[in-house]
């Protein structure tokens, strides 16, 4: 019956078919807890909340892992905005780092792609060819400055050889319009060694700051 409704193009038939599939447990959940069908079902709700423009999405690899380093101010909307915006632009899921491992919040956010803030967790995702969203620290005082970047987390990118891509987010926490600007991947540190992660973090921080400076409107009111 669901198939017939789908063939006839009845509105809501696809969602109905998805709900039916879920009731039989025939949907996919990956090892980290991402549920792509649930994300698709929640799409209309996300569309009401955020209107996202993405620039420079072609900088992201079509396949394989990459670390997307993004700024945040309060940090509530930003992980969702990055995940939704990049998925709309590229069709790929972004696994945003920083989910609390406490039920029921943690497992709920994991269904939408969130992952724990651990270097080995990030390395595992990169080896599996996933895009990882790594937030910089919060900067509540100014929206014009990017926060600090945890050097240890970038060791996962060095270990797996995944590119590190700076991303600037421009938008207001209570607003609907957001802009994501994806920069060029930061060149990998050639010689490796103990300083490699620190130098990569420094280059990424600088690149993200420049990208944010260029992305911010000259006057916020316009």
């Amino acid at each position: 019956m669901s198939v017939n409704l789908l063939r006839r193009g009845v509105p809501g038939a696809q969602a109905l078919a998805q709900v039916h599939r879920r009731s039989r447990g025939a949907h996919d959940v990956d090892e980290w807890g991402l549920d792509p069908e649930l994300v698709a079902l929640a799409n209309p709700v996300f569309a009401l909340r955020w209107d996202i423009e993405v620039r420079g999405a072609e900088q992201l690899p079509a396949v394989g892992g990459a670390v997307l380093v993004f700024n945040r101010r309060f940090g509530v909307s930003e992980p969702w905005v990055v995940a939704r915006g990049i998925r709309q632009a590229t069709g790929r899921f972004v696994r945003t780092v920083g989910v609390p491992d406490v039920a029921p919040v943690g497992p709920f956010i994991r269904r939408f792609g969130g992952v724990l803030d651990r270097t080995d967790e990030i390395a595992g995702l990169l080896r599996a060819g996933q895009l990882v969203g790594l937030p910089m620290s919060r900067d509540l005082r100014s929206r014009e400055r990017v926060g600090h970047l945890d050097v240890e987390r970038l060791e996962a990118a060095i270990e797996t050889g995944a590119p590190v891509v700076p991303v600037a987010l421009v938008g207001r926490e209570l607003g609907r319009a957001w802009t994501i600007v994806v920069g060029e991947p930061v060149p990998p540190v050639a010689d490796g060694g103990p300083l490699a992660a620190a130098e990569l973090a420094e280059s990424t921080h600088r690149a993200a700051q420049i990208l944010l400076d260029e992305s911010l409107p000259t006057s916020w009111w316009f």
């Binding site: 090892e31 807890g33 080995d120 967790e121 595992g124 599996a128």
Partner: protein
């Protein structure tokens, strides 16, 4: 090659023995266990040994002088024995057999059955650990497996041979006694939809193939052997057309007691798996061993198909031609 298989009486041990018997490079096979083999063995020699009978185990191992040890003498709580017996048996078996093997002059490799339960599911623990993640078991079964790995490593160091610890995902199969398999096949299954995380499983046949491949791979270190993909407990229950019963916090005690009354006691590591998930990165094992396990989805699907197996009553009537 002379191969010693401990735990030969179990479903997995018997299957490994049959697979080794089919290998012509294996000249002699000796098996030990508390229980007799589950199926017919053809050219293996079996000895029934209590896990706590150290003197007999040491004597047999030294007399046989194995080249390869496949240590499957691990007892899962509520699988065929009680949790306390399982813990004592696993520890005693590992110490006596691996300790004796360390002094055998012909020994070339040790392979032990472990599990991904050794990584533990403490708050903030890695969701999908690879072999480089330090172990931190949080269940009694995980601690037992970690002890087996530790004893095997010590024995390997003494003997100067590689030790492969195969960290299996929970093994489920058509005839293997598994507390998780029994629990998931109950008509009404308690689940925690608000906190559950995905888990991975391994088919018993893939576990056997991995064990046999490890005997010749001579890999030194742990290997995660995991069926690709994962499912949540609620999803598995719905796949089996069972009734999921949402349970939270202390309700698990009641759920565990009711399950036990129905003949499916839920050990601590299985409950941890249902609420906190349990999976691992099995990429390295697939490369080293060349074994491609069935997906977790397939293992769960088959778990519920076994319920429909027909058991015809024996009949003396002869069908007329």
């Amino acid at each position: 090659m002379r191969v010693l298989i401990t735990g030969m009486g179990g479903e997995l041990g018997t299957r490994v023995a049959n697979l080794m018997e089919a290998d012509e490079s294996v000249t002699e096979i000796m098996g030990m266990d508390l229980f007799p083999p589950r199926r017919r063995i053809f050219r293996s020699e079996f000895h029934r040994v209590e896990p706590t009978d150290r003197r007999k185990a040491v004597h047999l191992v030294r007399d046989f002088d194995p080249e390869v040890i496949l240590h499957l003498g691990v007892f899962e709580p509520h699988s065929r024995t009680s949790p306390s017996e399982a813990r004592r048996g696993t520890a005693a078996s590992a110490v006596s057999v691996l300790g004796a093997a360390a002094k055998c002059p012909s020994l070339q490799a040790i392979v032990v059955r472990s599990g991904i339960e050794v990584y533990g599911r403490a708050r903030g623990a890695a969701t999908r650990p690879d072999e480089s993640v330090p172990i931190q078991p949080t269940s009694p079964f995980g601690q037992s497996l970690a002890h087996v790995e530790q004893v095997a490593t010590e024995a390997g160091d003494v003997a100067g041979v590689p030790v492969t610890a195969l960290r299996f995902a929970p093994i489920v199969g058509p005839s293997i006694p598994s507390p998780l398999g029994r629990y998931l096949r109950l008509p009404v299954v308690s689940v925690d939809p608000l906190s559950e995380l995905p888990f991975s499983l391994l088919h018993q046949e893939d576990a056997g193939l991995a064990m046999v491949a490890a005997a010749t791979a001579r890999h030194d270190g742990p290997l995660n052997v995991v069926g690709p993909g994962a499912v949540t407990a609620s999803q598995a229950v719905r796949m089996g057309r069972r009734i999921p019963l949402p349970v939270f916090g202390p309700g698990w005690w009641a759920a565990g007691a009711i399950a036990e009354l129905q003949g499916a006691p839920l050990p601590a590591h299985s409950r941890e798996l249902l609420t906190r998930g349990c999976t691992a990165d099995g990429t390295l094992a697939r490369t080293v061993l060349g074994v491609e396990p069935r997906t977790t989805h397939d293992v769960v699907t088959q778990l519920y198909r076994w319920a429909t197996l027909a058991h015809p009553e024996p009949s003396n009537q002869v069908t007329p031609r």
